[in-house]
Amino acid sequence: MFVLVEMVDTVRIPPWSFQRQLNEAVSEELNKKLANKVVYNVGLCICLYDITKLEDSYIFPGDGASHTKVHFRYVVFHPFLDEILVGKIKYCSQEGVHVTMGFFDDILIPPESLQQPTKFDEAEQVWLWEYETDEGAHDLYMDQGEEIRFRVSDELFLDTSPTGPKIDETPPAQPGQSAAAAAAAPAQDTNEKKFAPYTLIGTISEPGLGLLSWWNN
């Protein structure tokens, strides 16, 4: 579930923190920068593991702060492919079952990867497994808050770094129309969806996977 990632970065210590031990000040800055943030193609950073090397600190003209190049190791949440994880069901939607682990929320199990045959109950907004035994068919509901065991089948990293302002492609409008065009452009920006920088795709279509209550005797 967790891996150790070796990274190098230059840490800026402001002058008012000069009385502190360099190690402490650097650790705090690194945690401030990386904790609870997703690094592209690496994973969700949890906390600093240790500092392997501190190089010399420099002060540059125009800035009173010291800059130190630090080699360190960080604890990162990055499950490997096919790893088994346990989470809680956040909610169900047409896209599938959304699972959360508390510290990480963007886990989705798409309908194809649920135990077949499965059906979406529109009234209760919940997916259910139509489990058939010799006695008859049972409907096993995937309710909110239930603990669920799933296998990681895929991961998606999205670069959510800010992009520049959009260049207006409409030709320069007449003075009478320009107000309407200007009003349309900001409305477009607010409709943009926010994408998660790191998403996990899971599957439960194997014996043993799914709600823990299904498999406990």
Partner: protein
């Protein structure tokens, strides 16, 4: 910022649990919560991760147990990823073992799987809530 090695080492849940509990103790001892605006992210992730890990069986492990477990597992032919999953999840049924060990039917016989489950139950601590009813039953009889 540069990433030198995105996969330098794998950590077990217990190691991360210990690291975060020690960090929490340190913060409590140092007392001051200065720069709380900047520390908020760290506090959030620490709290949530500790909450998740304290509910797993791996939070009750100790270094000696992990060492004993790994030396026992060395004789069985398991990959590092499989041993890590067994350590983190503490499977108690054959179905769970099948999930974590690839092609377990071809690599191990049923008795060997049972043996593995027994070893795991002995070496790694389980849920105290699950074990208490068993003791209560024994006392009443």
């Amino acid at each position: 910022m540069e990433v030198k090695n995105a996969n330098a080492a794998m950590l077990s849940n217990y190691e991360v649990f210990r690291l975060l509990t020690d960090l929490k103790e340190q913060k409590k001892d140092s007392g001051k919560s200065k720069h709380s605006a900047g520390q908020q992210n760290l506090n959030t992730i620490m709290y949530e991760t500790l909450k998740y890990l304290s509910k797993t069986p791996s939070s009750r492990q100790r270094p000696e147990m992990v060492q004993a477990f790994l030396s026992t597992m060395r004789d069985h032919k398991l990959t590092k990823a499989e041993k890590l999953q067994l350590l983190n999840h503490r499977p108690q049924t054959a179905v769970e073992m099948q999930l974590m060990v690839e092609e377990s039917e071809e690599r191990f016989s049923e008795e060997q799987i049972e043996e593995l489950i027994q070893t795991i139950s002995q070496l790694l601590p389980g849920d105290p809530e699950q074990e208490v009813p068993a003791n209560a039953g024994a006392e009443m009889a």
